[in-house]
Amino acid sequence: MSPAFRGKRVVGTAVVSAALLSTMVLSTAGVSGATSTTQSRVQSHTSIPAAVAALKKLFVRPIHIPVNKKITKPIPKGKTIDFVVCGVPQCAILASPLEAAAKYLHWKVVTIAGGLTPATIDNAWNQVVHNKPSAAMGTGFPEIVFSSQLAQLKADHIPVINGFVTDKSGAGVVAVVNGQPSYTYAGTALSVFVLGIDGTKSDSLFVGSTTFPASTFEQNAYIAENHKLCSKCQETNLDEAATATQAQVISDVIAKVNANTKINFVVCSQPTYAAGLPQALKTAGHASVKILVNTPDPTTLGYLKSGKIAGIMDVPNTDAMAEFIDALARHEVGMSTTPSEGAGGDWAVVKKTASQVTYPYFLVKGALGQYEKLWK
C-alpha cells in the first residue's frame, strides 16, 4: 500500500467517522431536548396524602362492571360478527372472551387475523367487506388504516365497533370501546401508584411508545397527574420505537437509569417492556429500582409473585370484550352506546393479591354474568 493511498484512506476514515459521530451528536442533542425531565428541587421524604388515598382505592379490586344501564328492548339473536384481531400477543387473547360474551346472546364470532402491516390489515378488512357480517369489530386499528373498507361497510349498513384506539365514533364506527377515557384513566392510575408508594422522593422513568396514540394518552395523563400531585417529583420519558425489541428496550432502560441514578421507579406502559428488566436492573447494580407494569401477562405475573416487580396495574382489557358485545346490542335495539364507551376502573395488583389474577385476566370477577343480567 502506497503512503499516499494510506494517507487518503486514513483521512477518508477520519472524515466518515467524524461525520457519523457528528450526526449522532447533533441528533442526540435535539432529541434529548425533547425528553421531558422535570427539574428537581430539594427532595423530602414525606408521603403525598392525595396519592396515598387514591392508591388505597386502587388496591381494591372492582366488583362491578362499569356499565349499569340495562337494555330494555329484546336483543335480536343469530348475528354474525367478524372480529379483526391485531397481530400483537396482547390482542390475540381477546378473541376468546369476545366469543364467550357473544354466546350469551347466541351470536357467532368469526375471528380474522389482522396482522400488523398495512397490507395484512387491508386484507383483513377487505375480507370483512366480502363476508358481509351482521357487524364488524376490531382492536387496535386506527380508522385511518381501513377507511376505504369502513366507508364500504357503512354503505352496506354494517355497524363497526372499534376498540383500544383513541379515535372517536362516527364515519361508520358506531362505538369506540376502551378508548381515550380508558387510557387517560390508566395513565393517572400509574402515577398514583408511583406517588403513593414513593411520595415526594419519586423519580420515575415512563417507558412508552408515541408511535401508538394510546400510549401517548397514557403518558400525558401520567405526567399531568404527577405534576398535579407532586410538583417536586421528577419523571423522565423513554420513547421506544414500535419495532424496538425486548433487548433494545432493556438496554435503553438500563442506559437511562445509569445516566440518572436517582430514578427509583420504572413504569412500563406495556408488559413486554418489562420482560427481562428485573434481572437486567439487578445486574446493572440497580436492584432497588422498582418496576410497575401496565396490564398483566404471564411473565409479569410471575415477576410479581416472586417479588421482582412492585406491582401491575390491571386494566379491564378482557372485560372490554363484553363491552363490545354490549355496545352492539345497544346499537341493534336503537339505544345509545354511550354506557359501553366509558372507562372502567383499574386495579393495582401487588404481590399479596397477584394470585387472584388469572388467565384470561378479567378485572371484575364474574364480569360476563353481570353483563348477561343487563342483556336479559
Binding site: 449522532m24 442526540t28 432529541v31 378473541a95 438500563i254 420482560a275 445486574t283 446493572a284 411473565t299
Partner: protein, 354 residues
C-alpha cells in the same frame, strides 16, 4: 516478510479495524459523557445485555463457515425457548431432561435445514427463511393463546444456571459466549474438521475434488447451528423468566451483522468466532453509548447500519488491494481466490454461498 512487517500488518486497521473503531468509540463516549460512560457499569451493561446476541451470532457462524446461511436462527430461538417453557409448565421432567429435549429440538431444526439445503438443494437463504417461518408459527402454536409462558422453574434453578448466576455482576451468558468463542475458535483453526469446514465454505467444488465430504460437513454444521440456536433459546427463556412466540426474531439481523462484520477482521478475512464476538460488543458499545447519551431509539439502529457499511466497505477496499497484489504471481485458480473476500462479503459473487 520480516517479523516486524507481519506484526505491523496484523495490527493494521485493515486487519483489526473493529478494535480501532471500538477504541475510537470508547474514547469518544468517554469524552462526551465522562461521568457516565467510562465506568464498570458500562462494561457490565454492554457485556450482560448483549451476551445473547453473541450466542445467536455464534450459532449462525458454524453454518456460515461451511457456506450455508442459517436464517432460521430467530425461529429456532423462539421455538426452543417456548418448548423449554412449555415442558417446565406441563410436565414433571427434570431440568436435565428438559435441557436435552430442547437441544434435541434444535438439532431437529438443524436436520430440517439439512433436508432443505443439502438434500433438496434449495438455496440456504431461502430454505432456512422458510424454516424460520415454520418455527415461528410452531412457537405460537405451542404457546397456545398465551402471549408468553412463564413457569416458575424459569426463574428457579434453571434460570439461575442459564442466566442469573453472576460473578462481579457479570452474568453467566457472558461466560457462555467467551467459552463458546474460544472452543469454536480453536476448532475452526486448529482441527482438521474445522479446516475442512472452512474449505467447504470457501469453495465446495475444490473441497469435493480434494476428497472432503462436502454434504456431510454442511449437514453437521447446520445441525450444530441448530443445537447452538436452541441453547440460545434456553438462555433467552432463562434471562426473561418467560418465553414468548417470536421473541427470537429480534436476534436474526444483529447476528448476521456481527458475523459479517467479524469476517472483515484478521488477516485471512474469514468468518471467525473472535471476530464475531468482537463485532457484537463493538456494535453494542456504540448503541449503549448513544442510549446513555439520551439518543432517540431510532439512532442506535442507524449507527449499527452505518457502522456495518463503513467497516465492511473499508475492509473490502483494503482486502481488494491486498488481494490484487498477492494474486499477481499466483494467477487465478486457487481455492482461496474463488471469491473476492471472506465467505460472506462476496455474497454477490455467489461462488461459495449456496
Amino acid at each position: 516478510m520480516t517479523r516486524l512487517a507481519t506484526l505491523r500488518r496484523s495490527l493494521s486497521p485493515g486487519s483489526i479495524g473493529i478494535i480501532y473503531v471500538w477504541a475510537l468509540l470508547i474514547v469518544f463516549f468517554s469524552v462526551w459523557k465522562p461521568d457516565l460512560f467510562p465506568t464498570m457499569s458500562t462494561v457490565r451493561s454492554v457485556l450482560n445485555l448483549n451476551a445473547l446476541a453473541g450466542l445467536a451470532a455464534l450459532a449462525i457462524l458454524v453454518p456460515m463457515v461451511s457456506g450455508a446461511i442459517d436464517a432460521s436462527i430467530g425461529g429456532n430461538i423462539s421455538l426452543s425457548g417456548v418448548c423449554c417453557a412449555w415442558l417446565f409448565q406441563n410436565t414433571h421432567l427434570s431440568v436435565l431432561a428438559v435441557v436435552l429435549i430442547t437441544l434435541g429440538i434444535g438439532a431437529t431444526i438443524g436436520l430440517v435445514n439439512v433436508l432443505v439445503v443439502v438434500v433438496l438443494k434449495i438455496p440456504s437463504i431461502i430454505g432456512t427463511l422458510a424454516t424460520w417461518l415454520i418455527c415461528d408459527s410452531l412457537s405460537s402454536a405451542v404457546a397456545g393463546q398465551q402471549s408468553s409462558l412463564s413457569p416458575p422453574q424459569l426463574s428457579g434453578s434453571f434460570g439461575n444456571d442459564f442466566a442469573i448466576a453472576s460473578w462481579q455482576n457479570f452474568t453467566i451468558p457472558v461466560l457462555f459466549v467467551l467459552v463458546l468463542a474460544a472452543v469454536m475458535g480453536l476448532w475452526l483453526t486448529q482441527t482438521p474438521s474445522g479446516r475442512y469446514t472452512h474449505a467447504v465454505g470457501l469453495n465446495p467444488a475444490v473441497a469435493r475434488n480434494t476428497g472432503i465430504r462436502v454434504s456431510l460437513i454442511q449437514s453437521c454444521a447446520l445441525v450444530v447451528g441448530g443445537i447452538l440456536g436452541a441453547f440460545a433459546g434456553m438462555v433467552l427463556a432463562a434471562q426473561y423468566a418467560s418465553a414468548s412466540p417470536g421473541s427470537g426474531d429480534a436476534y436474526l439481523l444483529p447476528a448476521f451483522a456481527a458475523v459479517f462484520l467479524g469476517a472483515t477482521q484478521f488477516r485471512l478475512k474469514r468468518f471467525t468466532a473472535w471476530g464475531t464476538v468482537l463485532a457484537v460488543f463493538m456494535l453494542a458499545t456504540g448503541e449503549y453509548g448513544l442510549a446513555l447519551a439520551g439518543a432517540a431509539s431510532w439512532i442506535p439502529n442507524v449507527f449499527q447500519g452505518l457502522a456495518l457499511i463503513i467497516a465492511i466497505g473499508l475492509s473490502r477496499q483494503v482486502f481488494s488491494r491486498t488481494a490484487r497484489v498477492t494474486k499477481r504471481p499466483q494467477q487465478a485458480g486457487s481455492a482461496v481466490s474463488a471469491g473476492d473476500g471472506p465467505h460472506g462479503t462476496d455474497v454477490p459473487a455467489g461462488a461459495t454461498l449456496q
